[in-house]
Subunit: 457 residues, 2 copies
């Protein structure tokens, strides 16, 4: 039989076991923090009805959708009935609308699953990737206080992920809208076009952006262009500084006043939630491309790795599920694109291949003693210590080498000498050290060693 | 805008949050046990190349495959290039073949992901479901001892899942093949046909099966048919009984002798692995439909719910990935179809909706005291206690009702009285009890309560 080359499609991140362990630890950390803040788990099917999935999306998204067909449906004409989710927000909207009467509001859910996009293959672009989302959904209304809780969750997650200093950056779409209105740019679409130009500030510089805004396409006055550039360059260095800079914007239309009041309340509460002032700031350039957001918007960046861009983004929206239900469901949420983040962190040398999930390897000296090895392994497992037993014989040196290569730190040797003396020899492959311990003390000793190892990361 | 009805496709199991928590706890238990036995995590993409996925499968599977196409690819003729995995075994074979040189052998992996089958919609049939698999893959060879380790893992998993008494049932394909040969049924396909008839024993009874086997289609003698029926009805009640019944089969061709020797070694070792004799048994009717298995085969049943059928099945195979690589990769493994199992257990009243993952709700008495509530919540979260704060005001009674409905057991009240006295009132909604505790003792007290609650299940 001719062999089929074993390969995966481009745009997926498939990991070797020790990398998968590192990735899994990040997932576990995120889940633990989401749960600590009282978010409840939800999982939805990867496959949804196409008409349910594609109610709101524009052409761009539609072109990236993966449609799904069983063999029987392949021959049919037209758009396939099924498709893979491209984010977790549309499935959330569908979920809340479908199960509305069985949920308690405010509904706090987290969801950590893979999503699918038929992107063109390109370095750093993934066709399948994890999103780790939280959202709080209100019924009819939702206090702006929830907008302050989200950064507290972000802070908790990234502090524990321990990938370096970070800043949660906030803006408010109403404030932006109001400010643009006060400059005579009232049309929402025109505001978006201006923002898209302003987004090029970092890459092209202020002069380029100013020229564009005052050029034929936009036709803004030099004064207005200058004010826009000043506005989007506002950053705060402390809570007091943020309040001062918000006040310095001067009075303006209702949207501006409302946005400013919301931002002030949110910023103040974030501090009350225990987030240090060093970890959140005003950044009036943040718009978040989507029309979707209507109030607070967030981005989070690593201070020492700005090139990575936002590692966690989101915001407040007016109505989650207007395509499915007449109920008004305002909400606020964020998303961590973990596959891309992990890939970038690994690329930047910020995450290592993990230690194995296997704590101990029990070696095999003499196959006649197998029952003794198995009893020892059972004892360790019973104490919650992950243990592998060598069931296939072979030289002891080869067994050590296997443990080393597999990232297993502790190797246990139980030879005739040890059995006679009631002891066990433990080899610590990381410290390149070995010691003898009484059989009765083994579990306790290994537990201490493993706790120390875990504490040291 | 006309509303789109929010709905999922038939054949998926979407859960409400408290059920999702119960499901997630089962996933966590399985993962913990797999890791305890030294299996390493692997995740593979849901989408694979069709030619990679469909090398080995027959027509039946092919008809159940979900093909995947991006919008751009829809117009193209022929079989789509991409498809969703229908199990975790083919992706494992692809993974091991692709990464062979980066893996250590014996390679022990677990994989817990969703798989997809375009089944006809039918009660209890799922189109998307979790499989939780372990496999040990050897290079060139793999000791039969690994066949004994698998039941030790099964025992550990189901004991901790705590869904009632169960029995791991074993057979060996070589033993079966050898016995059939000794009766003059040497052809593999004919053996399978006979086994398929024998499978109807429970439903149709011995007379019906005997009539079929001695009838026109098979044309076996009454003696041979009787021997087959006797063989497949062999069950053991203890290890000694199993050995006795294996010996009683008498001598036979090489395959029978080899199968018997393997079964004896495996059964003996299972006991050495610490599995009580009450939890494993010989069952010579087990064949596992697939041609795939070549030696030991397993099924696991709940003693008190035989109608649920096998909750965990698998076996030994000769060569994992012959379609992708010339390397010989024998292995042994099992799969738990968790979605179906959970659904069946819930149907039989064996799993409850879980307590919430949220341990504590901090109520809101006076919005001016918000900083005090937030500080309290931070303290609890810092101690690992999952805490939700009521950020939207409302009557206290309504807040209690929310907690009750959401399955949150402990509600904390911090009113002016409590603040003045330096205490906190804790309401235990399950016990319908409340008590006052010094603010400084709160974390300790709640921890004890939560540990007790967890211990009592």
């Amino acid at each position: 039989m001719a062999l089929t080359p074993a390969r995966t499609m481009p745009g997926v991140l498939e990991l070797l076991p020790l990398d998968q362990i590192a990735f899994q630890r990040m997932l576990d950390t995120i889940r633990r923090n989401y749960e600590r803040f009282g978010f409840l788990p939800v999982e939805t099917p990867a496959i949804e009805f196409s008409d349910v999935l594609l109610t709101k999306t524009g052409g761009e998204t539609e072109r990236q959708v993966y449609f799904v067909q069983s063999t029987g449906a392949l021959a049919k004409e037209g758009t396939p009935e099924l498709a893979l989710r491209f984010d977790l927000t549309v499935p959330l909207a569908r979920y809340v609308a479908e199960h509305e009467h069985d949920l308690s509001f405010p509904f706090r859910r987290y969801q950590m699953q893979r999503v699918y996009r038929g992107e063109r293959a390109q370095r750093g672009r993934f066709r399948e990737f994890y999103q780790c989302d939280i959202d709080v959904i209100g019924k009819d209304g939702l206090s702006v206080r929830y907008d302050a809780e989200i950064p507290a969750v972000i802070y908790s997650v990234f502090r524990e992920l321990d990938i370096g200093p970070f800043t949660i950056q906030l803006n408010n779409r109403k404030l932006m809208r109001g400010y643009f209105e006060s400059l005579g740019i009232a049309d929402g679409e025109r505001q978006m076009l201006v923002l898209r130009e302003v987004d090029k500030l970092d890459k092209r510089g202020a002069d380029y952006v100013r020229d564009t805004l005052t050029g034929e396409g936009f036709g803004l006055s030099a004064e207005v262009a200058g004010k826009i550039l000043d506005f989007v360059q506002v950053r705060s260095t402390s809570l007091e500084d943020a309040f001062g800079k918000l006040d310095a914007l001067g009075s303006g239309p209702e949207a501006l006043e409302q946005g400013r009041a919301e931002l002030k309340e949110v910023l103040g509460l974030i501090r009350d939630f225990g987030v240090p002032e060093s970890h959140f700031a005003l950044n009036l350039s943040i718009a978040r491309g989507l029309d979707y957001y209507t109030g607070t918007v967030y981005e989070t960046t690593l201070n020492e790795h700005p090139q990575i861009g936002s590692i966690c983004s989101g915001g407040r929206y007016e109505n989650l599920a207007s395509q499915y239900t007449k109920s008004k469901l305002p909400g606020v949420g964020i998303s961590i694109g973990l596959t891309r983040l992990y890939w970038q962190l690994r690329d930047a040398g910020l995450v290592d291949t993990a230690r194995s999930t296997v704590d101990v390897l029990v070696t095999q000296m003499d196959e006649a003693r197998m029952p003794a090895y198995l009893a020892l392994a059972s004892e360790l497992r019973g104490a919650g210590i992950a243990t592998e037993v060598v069931l296939e014989g072979g030289k002891l040196g080869k067994q050590f080498k296997y443990a080393d290569r597999a990232g297993i730190r502790f190797v246990v040797v139980l030879g005739e000498d040890e059995l006679a003396k009631g002891v066990v020899t433990v080899k610590d492959l990381r410290r390149e050290d070995q010691f003898e311990v009484a059989r009765t003390e083994l579990v306790k000793t290994l537990r201490v060693e493993l706790e120390q190892a875990a504490a040291m990361g």
